[in-house]
C-alpha cells in the first residue's frame, strides 16, 4: 500500500472513532435535545412514527385501562411523568419498549403475564430506567461508530492483496457484533436495577421482579422451538439477571410486602378473554399451557372457568394425538368453574363431533343456544345438529 494511502487510512480511522465521545444530556424533566444534534434528529424521526402509532388499529384505547397504566408509570417516573407517553399495543407477546423521545409501548402480552401491580410496575420501572439512562442514544452512537470502523476495515480487507485479509475482517466483524450485544446486556442490567430500586422505594415487594423473570423463563424453556421466540431472543442471560435481582431482594434489610391493590385486576379483567384468545392464536401451545397453569395458580384467581376454557382451546387447535380427548376434559372441567364463557358449550360440541359422539355434541350445542339465544352462529349450529358426523371432523 502507498505510504500516502496508509496515512489517509489512519487519519480516517481517528476521525471515525473521534465522534464517540459526545456527552449525554443532563436530562432535567421536560428537557428536549437540541435540534441540530443526532438525538434531535432521532426525536424528529420518532415523532413521525409516533403519529403512525397513534392511529394504529392495534392501539388499545380503553380509557380506564390507559388511566390505570399511566398512573402506575407516573408513580414510577416521578417528576419525569410528563416526559413519558404510554401506548398500550395489542400484541400477544411479552414486551414493553422505551423510545428516547418518551414513547413507551406496553404490549398486551406483558399485561396478561404480570400477576399483580408490583410485577407490572417492575416492568414499567425497567423501561423508565432505559429512558433515564439514555440507553437508546448511547446504543445509536455505539452502533454508528462500530459500523463506521467496520466499513473502513472492510475496505482495507477488500483492497489488501493478502489472501488472509478477508478472514481477519470476519473476525473483527464478529468481535464488533459481540460487543454491541454486550453493551445492550449492560443496559438491561442497569434498567433492572432501576426498576428494582423504584419498586423498593414505592413499598412494593422486592421479590416480584425476579418472580416475573422466573415465570417468563419457565415459559421460554417450554417454547416450541420451531416458533419465533419471545423477548429473550434479544435479552439473553436471563438467569443471571434473575439471580442478581433475587440476591438483592433477599439482602434487603426491610422489604415491603405490597403487591398492589384491587385496581390492577379491575383494570385488566375486562380484557382477559380477548388477550387469552390472542395468546392462543400465537400457536405456541407449550408456552400457552405454562402460562395458563401459572394464571390458574394465582391465590386470588376468580376466572378459573375461563382459564380452563382456553386450555381446551389449546388442545382443540393443536390436535396432537390425544388432544381431542384432552379438549373435552378441559371444557367439561370449565363448566364446573366460575367465569366460563358461553362458547365453552359450543366448542365442547365441536370437540365431541371429533370423537364421533353426535349425541353429546348435540346436547352441548343445544345448551349453547339456550345460553346464547341470539348467537351470531345460531344458523350454523342448528345446521350442524342435523348433519351426520364425518370420519374426519374439522
Amino acid at each position: 500500500m502507498f505510504p500516502m494511502l496508509k496515512s489517509l487510512l489512519v487519519s480516517l480511522a481517528i476521525a471515525l472513532v473521534g465522534c464517540s465521545s459526545q456527552p449525554l444530556r443532563t436530562m432535567e424533566p421536560g428537557d428536549r435535545p437540541a435540534e441540530h444534534t443526532d438525538e434531535g434528529g432521532l426525536w424528529d424521526a420518532l415523532a413521525e412514527s409516533e403519529r403512525a402509532l397513534q392511529r394504529s388499529p392495534l392501539l388499545v384505547r380503553d380509557e380506564a385501562l390507559n388511566r390505570y397504566v399511566n398512573g402506575l408509570v407516573c408513580r414510577y417516573a416521578g417528576e419525569y411523568c410528563k416526559d413519558i407517553r404510554v401506548y398500550i399495543v395489542r400484541r400477544p407477546y411479552f414486551n414493553a419498549s422505551m423510545a428516547p423521545n418518551g414513547v413507551m409501548q406496553v404490549w398486551t402480552g406483558a399485561l396478561l403475564r404480570a400477576e399483580n401491580e408490583a410485577q407490572l410496575g417492575f416492568v414499567l420501572g425497567h423501561e423508565i430506567g432505559h429512558f433515564l439512562g439514555q440507553h437508546s442514544i448511547k446504543q445509536w452512537r455505539r452502533t454508528k461508530d462500530t459500523a463506521n470502523a467496520l466499513s473502513l476495515l472492510q475496505l482495507i480487507a477488500a483492497g489488501s492483496p493478502s489472501a488472509n485479509a478477508g478472514d481477519a475482517f470476519d473476525v473483527a466483524l464478529f468481535a464488533a457484533y459481540a460487543s454491541l450485544f454486550k453493551y445492550s446486556r449492560d443496559h438491561e442490567r442497569e434498567s433492572d436495577q432501576h426498576g428494582f430500586e423504584r419498586s423498593v422505594a414505592l413499598g412494593y415487594d422486592a421479590n416480584q421482579g425476579w418472580k416475573l423473570w422466573q415465570a417468563l423463563l419457565a415459559e421460554e424453556n417450554a417454547r416450541d422451538r420451531r416458533k419465533p421466540s419471545s423477548v429473550f431472543a434479544t435479552h439473553p442471560a436471563t438467569e443471571e439477571r434473575l439471580t442478581t435481582l433475587r440476591r438483592e431482594a433477599e439482602a434487603l434489610a426491610k422489604n415491603g410486602d405490597g403487591t398492589g391493590g384491587a385496581e390492577f385486576n379491575e383494570a385488566l379483567r375486562p380484557f382477559l378473554t380477548t388477550w387469552l384468545a390472542d395468546e392462543v392464536q400465537r400457536r405456541n401451545y407449550p408456552q400457552t399451557l405454562v402460562l395458563l397453569d401459572r394464571l390458574q395458580s394465582r391465590p386470588d384467581v376468580r376466572n378459573a372457568g375461563m382459564l380452563a376454557y382456553f386450555r381446551g382451546e389449546v388442545f382443540r387447535k393443536r390436535r396432537a394425538p390425544g388432544d381431542d380427548k384432552r379438549a373435552i376434559d378441559a371444557y367439561v372441567a370449565a363448566l364446573d368453574l366460575p367465569g366460563y364463557p358461553a362458547e365453552t358449550l359450543r366448542d365442547l360440541g365441536y370437540a365431541f363431533r371429533r370423537v364421533q359422539d353426535t349425541e353429546s355434541a348435540n346436547r352441548a350445542f343445544a345448551d349453547y343456544l339456550a345460553a346464547r339465544p341470539k348467537a351470531d352462529d345460531r344458523a350454523l349450529i342448528e345446521h350442524l345438529m342435523q348433519e351426520p358426523v364425518r370420519t374426519h371432523e374439522d
Binding site: 434528529g41 432521532l42 394504529s56 384505547r61 454508528k144 466499513s151 475496505l155 477488500a158 483492497g159
Partner: protein, 251 residues
C-alpha cells in the same frame, strides 16, 4: 457495503484504468430518474382547467449518510425542507394557474377513527401498494405482469370528507426521503474508488407524489423520483426537486 466489483482485473489497466475507474465510480453514483403513471381515462381527458388542488400532510425527512451507510435523521435540515419543498411546489402550481388551497393537516384534536385521518391512512396504504405492484417487480395476479399498465386504483368516494374539509377538487400527496453524503462517507467513497474495490453509494433522494380526484377517489397521477443529485437544503435545490417531483402533473 455489499456488491464489490472485483478489483483484480483492473490492476493491469495501469494508471489510465485507475483514473477511468475513479471517474466511472463518481459518474455512476450520480443519476436521476422519474417514472410517471397515470389513470387511463384521466390521461385522455386531462382537462383540469380552473380546478383546485390541496397539498395534504407532506411527509419529508432528511438524513445524513454515515461513513458506514447508516442513515442518521437530521432534524434541522428536515424542518427547513418541510418549509422549502411545499413552497417550491406552490410556486410551480401557481405558475400553472392551478387554484391552490392552503396545505391541509388533520386537526390534532380529531380522534384516531375520524374520517379524514382514516382516508389519509388509506391513501398511504394505496401509495405503498401502487409502488410495490407498479414499480417494484411484484406483479399482481389480477393485473398481470406488465408494470407499465395505466393506473387503476381508487380510494373510493369516502375521500369526499377531504373535499368537504378543504374545498379542493384534487389532493396532492408528497413523500420525500432524502439523504446526504457525510464527510466520512465521501472519504470512504473516494478511498473505495482509489483502492479499486468497488463503487460505494452516496446520499440519495427518493420521492413519491400522487394526485387523487376528491370526487371519485381515483388515483389519477403517480410519480416516483430517484435522484442522487437532488438537494433540499437550499431554495434552488428545492425548486429543482419540486419540478422533477411534479413532472407530468396534468395541470
Amino acid at each position: 457495503m455489499q456488491a464489490y466489483v472485483s478489483g483484480a482485473g483492473m490492476r493491469r489497466w495501469g494508471n489510465f484504468g485507475r483514473a477511468l475507474f475513479v471517474l466511472c465510480a463518481l459518474v455512476l453514483s450520480a443519476c436521476s430518474s422519474t417514472h410517471v403513471r397515470t389513470d387511463a381515462e384521466f390521461d385522455v381527458a386531462r382537462d383540469l382547467g380552473g380546478k383546485s388542488v390541496v397539498l395534504v400532510e407532506p411527509s419529508i425527512q432528511l438524513f445524513e449518510m454515515q461513513a458506514s451507510g447508516l442513515m442518521e435523521p437530521r432534524a434541522d435540515w428536515t424542518r427547513a425542507a418541510r418549509d422549502r419543498l411545499p413552497a417550491a411546489i406552490n410556486v410551480i402550481l401557481a405558475e400553472r394557474q392551478a387554484n391552490l388551497k392552503p396545505e391541509y393537516r388533520v386537526p390534532a384534536e380529531l380522534p384516531a377513527d375520524a374520517k379524514p385521518r382514516q382516508v389519509l391512512a388509506l391513501n398511504e396504504a394505496v401509495i405503498n401498494t401502487i409502488f410495490t405492484h407498479s414499480y417494484l417487480h411484484v406483479p399482481l395476479p389480477t393485473r398481470g405482469a406488465s408494470r407499465r399498465k395505466p393506473l387503476s386504483w381508487t380510494l373510493g368516494p369516502g375521500v369526499s370528507t377531504i373535499r368537504e374539509q378543504t374545498g379542493a377538487d384534487y389532493m396532492l400527496t408528497v413523500i420525500v426521503r432524502d439523504s446526504y453524503t457525510s464527510t466520512g462517507r465521501a472519504a470512504l467513497m473516494i478511498l473505495a474508488a482509489a483502492l479499486q474495490v468497488g463503487v460505494l453509494q452516496g446520499g440519495q433522494q427518493f420521492g413519491v407524489a400522487t394526485l387523487v380526484d376528491l370526487r371519485t377517489g381515483d388515483v389519477v397521477w403517480f410519480n416516483v423520483l430517484s435522484d442522487s443529485l437532488g438537494d433540499l437544503r437550499d431554495d434552488e435545490g428545492a425548486q429543482a426537486t419540486a419540478t422533477k417531483l411534479l413532472k407530468g402533473l396534468p395541470l
